[in-house]
Amino acid sequence: MSKQFPGVQAVNNVDLEIYPGEVHVVAGENGAGKSTLMKLLSQVERPSAGTITIEGKPIHFHGPRYAQSLGIAMVYQEFALAPHLTVAQNMFLGREPMKMGLIDQATEIQQARTLLKRVGLQLDPRQLVSTLSVAEQQLVEIAKALAIEARLVIMDEPTATLTGQEIEDLFRVISQLTENGIAILYISHRLDEIFRIADRITVMRDGSVVATLPRAEVDEPKLIKLMVGRELANLYPKPETHIGEVILRVEGFSRARVLHNCSFEVRAGEILGFAGLVGAGRTELARAVFGADPIDAGTLYLAGKRVKVKKPARAIELGIGYLTEDRKNNGLAMNLGVDKNITLARLPMFGGMLDLRRERRIALQARDSLRIRTPSIRQRVELLSGGNQQKVVVARWLETSARVLFFDEPSRGIDVRAKAEMFELIGKLAQEGRAIVMISSYLPELLNMCDRILVMREGRVAGIVERERFSEELIIALATGAQEDKIA
């Protein structure tokens, strides 16, 4: 199969075979063409060349509905949910159960509830999708794919925003499916995960397949080398930093039903992690500090001085930055160019006018240092691959000279190499004496990069753990409430 976009050969002459009951992982750097290849299989995009055969029979292109009827279901990387419809309505979109020419809403809700339970999501199916958190949307997206009687389920980075328990639930579902002879095509940037579930691994680079190997023949260094083209010394390059004065102190932040009396402080040169289950309130806390959401109570001290932050504009003025977890809705101006998105929080000005040359330089630099794969720095962001979009948001906040930076799920959808490079940059920022708060659902990241980890549970600070005491068990225990730790 091949696929050309204006200016990009996204998929280049790829051969792929999938067998019943196997978990076939597709790996590769951002922009390698993984998502595009999947979209060719689910007939969302029309291939420029190539054919698909199912059980020996060649299949023609008729669009996504046809692919569904052939038993191909897909979980999209950029969620394909309609925010104004309810969870149940989204799950059965295009395949509504009918009764006498009308939609059978009772059955629809009933079936939706069953499917939600299967992916371990406790949600009312009548709730609007626009009220869901990113992680919840991801689970709905998965449940939606399960609603199709599929022979092949394609999952494009389903775990990018999920934490431990949800991932376990997902793996359980996957093994149920494969036991029934259903094939899984799985894209992920998380190496441990790949090795856990893969039967075979296909590595893509620049639109072409580099290799397809059985799980047994690959180990981590080899996989990285296949993807990146060279070895990576250290996935988590944490630098030695000098931890200085307290820059930001948060006291008693509360907001009805979301945050309860949350306090913490972060010092210059320190990387503080936020851990917790989905919906624990990490995002809410960061947004509250940043002034993106109002609070009912709480005080904020910046370098010892009490400050009031009611708007993000004020926070940025004071040197606080916040990188959102929801790049699509809150992060990117989708129909603007890469360059304009990168400089959005801090425009390069010269005598009252925009300095377009400097803007271009900044964007080019960011492109190179984060390896943003784009045909041009003026390319509209919506045409980039998911991981590259994420890099653009990251680049924006690296550009601002904020003293305190909140990174909410910064590695969401980023490939290994870029992750390592991003962590290196974050480390450098810390070295420069900035305070970093890193929110992540992927514990190894926090354990390796942070000086301290704050664990949240149900809107409360369940505990703050020093680096010496770091252990996965302890943090999970705090996050699930199995152990109450007095704030250190």
């Binding site: 996504p64 394909a80 925010p83 309505q89 009312d124 709730q127 225990a477």
Partner: protein
Amino acid sequence: MKDTAREAHDAEGRQSSAERGIVRRTMGVRLADAAAQLAAAGALIIVSLCLSLVSPVFLTFNNLFNIVAQTAVTAVIAIGMTFVIITAGIDLSVGSTAALGGMLGTLMMSHTGLSWPLAVVGGALIGGVIGLGNGLLITGAGLNPFIATLGMMSVARGLTYLTTNAVGVYGLPGDFGLLGQGLIDNIPIPLVILVIVAILAHLLLTRTRLGRYTYAIGSNQEAARLSGIPIGRYLIAIYVLQGLLAGFAGMIASSRVVSGQPNFGVGLELDVIAATVIGGASLFGGQGTIIGTLIGAFLIAVIRNGCVLLNINLYYQDVISGAVIWLAVYWDQFRRKKLATASQ
């Protein structure tokens, strides 16, 4: 051993708190829904109350009859516009379409001697053809709805003028007047028509595939496409529906003056869109209800009626209706927000 125990405990804790969350949110959604309907109607109710206090005529049968009969035309078209706007589209051609439907429908009566009920169907079908044109321009030629229907607004108006060289159609059977002004057992026929159209449209919007896909397309067209919905076909159906309703409304309007008027409906599109938006629809798609649209249409009509009843200086009328619309929508939003917060 300890581990499993802890996990069980964990799971339970999560479970219950999540369960609680669900109940809370559902209640919230439901309440907010009901509140939205009520709040929207609220503005209408308050304006009506004020009017009935200051003008003894307001609540008389005759006056209410007038309001209903006058609003029927706008409301019927606005019901179609609700579908269009929910898909994140717009139809600027409704005024011209109504005029064309009205002119050709009445011409059928006066020239070919068609009976009036058949002519009404004819007028509606003419509107449907125009709607089909809009649909094809949007889905086939890929024009955006604004441009497609802006052009159609101009083209349909030109065709209307051309049919009779911009002269009205007269000499229609007196019975034809029933459609827009008759009574069945003391119930205004336009009211009956409006209620039937509204109920059917409401069912269509909330209970059928067409309705569901209307919201889906407007909410996230890409998602709708990925879910395998044949977007083009549904969009065409929606613009045809809008056209049919506009043509039909054109016949109601003609019936009210028992003649075909080539200049009918100039500027009507703005009234219709306003009714829809005041009723809570979003021009960005995905949002809107039939009941809201009806409330919007009646709000506009009641304000106009009130200005006349109260003998308000003509030039102040414009100022007042503008201000009342601001207040009504502002109050509506305010109420919704408050109820949404309270129900959290």
